[in-house]
């Protein structure tokens, strides 16, 4: 169990590193655009398009890390009134629903990327970017998110199990 937690933590940290790199890319790309426009009176023609792609990378690779560091918000009105056992059970149920939704989205995001690839869809911009490249961030990110959700669910399950033997 401990091994799984350590491993999933490592995975989400790596993903967060990619997210951070994406954030820096956005900043640099847009600053470059402002510079090029102000001083050279021209345009990179890709700043708007690629910063949006980077944002997709930032968000989807950040999902798991955000969960691991308790960054996703939830309403705790009911769970805060429950005992430890009830909290663990509610958390477990929530995680199962979340896993189901993430897995469902994963399945269809793979289809999205595959179709963009096989139908050779490109962006309607000067760069004519093949759409599957930025879109592939969605299934990859969701997969990493599911790893983290699984670890979260296991932790909740073990808390529930442990509390069973207490009065």
């Amino acid at each position: 169990m401990e091994k799984i937690f350590r491993w999933s933590k490592k995975v989400s940290d790596w993903a967060a590193l990619i997210s951070s790199a994406a954030m820096l890319c956005i900043v640099l790309l847009i600053l470059l655009e402002v510079f090029v426009r102000s001083f050279l009176n021209t345009s990179t023609m890709i700043a708007d398009e690629y910063s949006a792609y980077m944002y997709v990378v930032l968000v989807f690779f950040g999902l798991g890390y955000t969960l691991a560091t308790d960054g996703h918000i939830r309403v705790k009105v009911i769970s805060s009134r429950l005992n430890e056992r009830g909290q663990a059970l509610l958390d477990l149920c929530a995680t199962v629903v979340a896993l189901g939704l993430a897995g469902f989205a994963l399945k269809f995001s793979v289809a999205l990327v595959w179709e963009a690839y096989s139908l050779r869809m490109v962006s309607e911009t000067p760069a004519q970017t093949p759409m599957w490249i930025p879109q592939v961030a969605i299934p990859l990110g969701l997969l990493l998110f599911m790893v983290q959700l699984l670890a979260h669910g296991l932790a909740a399950a073990s808390r529930w199990k442990a509390s069973r033997f207490r009065p």
């Binding site: 345009s43 139908l119 490109v122 309607e124 759409m131």
Partner: protein, 307 residues
């Protein structure tokens, strides 16, 4: 009998004539099918689609019907880029002729994407709204122009301008503050955005007459009865004719409206036209080279017939 209900995604606001055409189509379909087919039109992008993904969305039946600006989906299907090529046509008559020669290509491309084109309607021609008057091609040099697609950006860049891509929502503010000084768009859009508050001139460069198409997913289509299909096709033919007239009438009205509000309108003379055609030529050649042989044949055939 069971009533068939379908959602139609309309990309423009409810007041736009394309959206109104879709509403009219829905109304007639309901009437001609005796109420057995009900189409709910959702204008203003209320269904959450932006544009480029619409071919695929209709193909999968995620949305059964949609109004699509053809040029916007050319990333998925090159064929649909024809109507947004610059300076291919310079009047409604020519635009219709070009559409006639491309119709088979369009239908084939749509079928490949598991859909059927019900009817098409043209946007009024795009021209240049500017702060300074444009007399010759040299006046376009250095203009910071908001354009709406890759072709427009390439076209103006070829003429020495600096095209800027910007969400339409930011255009008005960007004009007021001088971030841009011109807009490539139709008189209709110029009127709706009250561009006379910020711009003074409109040059009718007849940049393009881009087409919109209203399509239906083939699985939904095949599930209809023969009578329902016939009724829909009847409505489609009528609405198509109506929309072509409406587009031209709207254009004339808008030109009058912007002129009354103080915008000076001018025509393109032969010298400028030649320069514009030269700037467009490279773009059309590029397009033809990258599109398939059948697209190339039709486009080149049409261009020869015009000379």
């Amino acid at each position: 009998a069971d009533v068939v209900k379908m959602n139609l995604n309309a990309i423009y606001p409810a007041t736009n004539f394309h959206s109104q055409g879709a509403e009219e189509f829905a109304k007639r379909v309901k009437e001609y099918t005796g109420g057995t087919v009900e189409i709910a039109v959702h204008p203003g992008g209320a269904l959450g689609f932006k544009g480029p993904e619409l071919l695929k969305a209709v193909k999968d039946g995620t949305v059964p019907m949609s109004d699509i600006l053809m040029g916007v989906v050319q990333g998925s299907e090159k064929t649909f880029g024809i109507s947004s090529l610059p300076r291919m046509v310079t009047s409604y008559d020519e635009a219709f002729k070009l559409y006639q020669s491309c119709k088979d290509l369009y239908d084939k491309a749509a079928a490949k994407w598991n859909q059927k084109i019900l009817y098409v309607a043209p946007w009024p021609p795009s021209g240049l709204f500017t702060t300074k008057e444009i007399k010759t091609a040299a006046d376009i040099k250095g203009l910071k122009t908001r354009t709406y697609d890759k072709n427009g950006a390439d076209f103006l860049a070829n003429l020495g301008g600096s095209p800027v891509s910007l969400p339409w929502g930011e255009v008005y503010a960007a004009l007021r503050t001088g971030m841009i000084d011109s807009v490539l768009t139709s008189a209709v859009s110029g009127r709706d955005a009250k561009l006379w508050e910020v711009l003074k001139y409109f040059k009718k460069i007849d940049y393009a007459y881009p087409l919109n198409m209203v399509v239906i997913n083939l699985d939904y289509w095949k599930a209809l009865t023969a009578d329902q299909k016939a009724a829909m096709e009847k409505a489609a033919i009528e609405v198509q004719e109506m929309q072509w007239k409406k587009s031209a009438a709207d254009n004339a009205e808008s030109l009058k409206a912007i002129e009354e509000n103080g915008i000076a309108i001018s025509e393109t003379d032969a010298a400028l036209a030649a320069e514009l055609d030269a700037a467009a030529d490279a773009i059309i050649k590029d397009f033809v080279a990258s599109a398939g042989a059948d697209v190339a044949a039709v486009v080149e055939g049409y261009r020869k017939s015009q000379k």
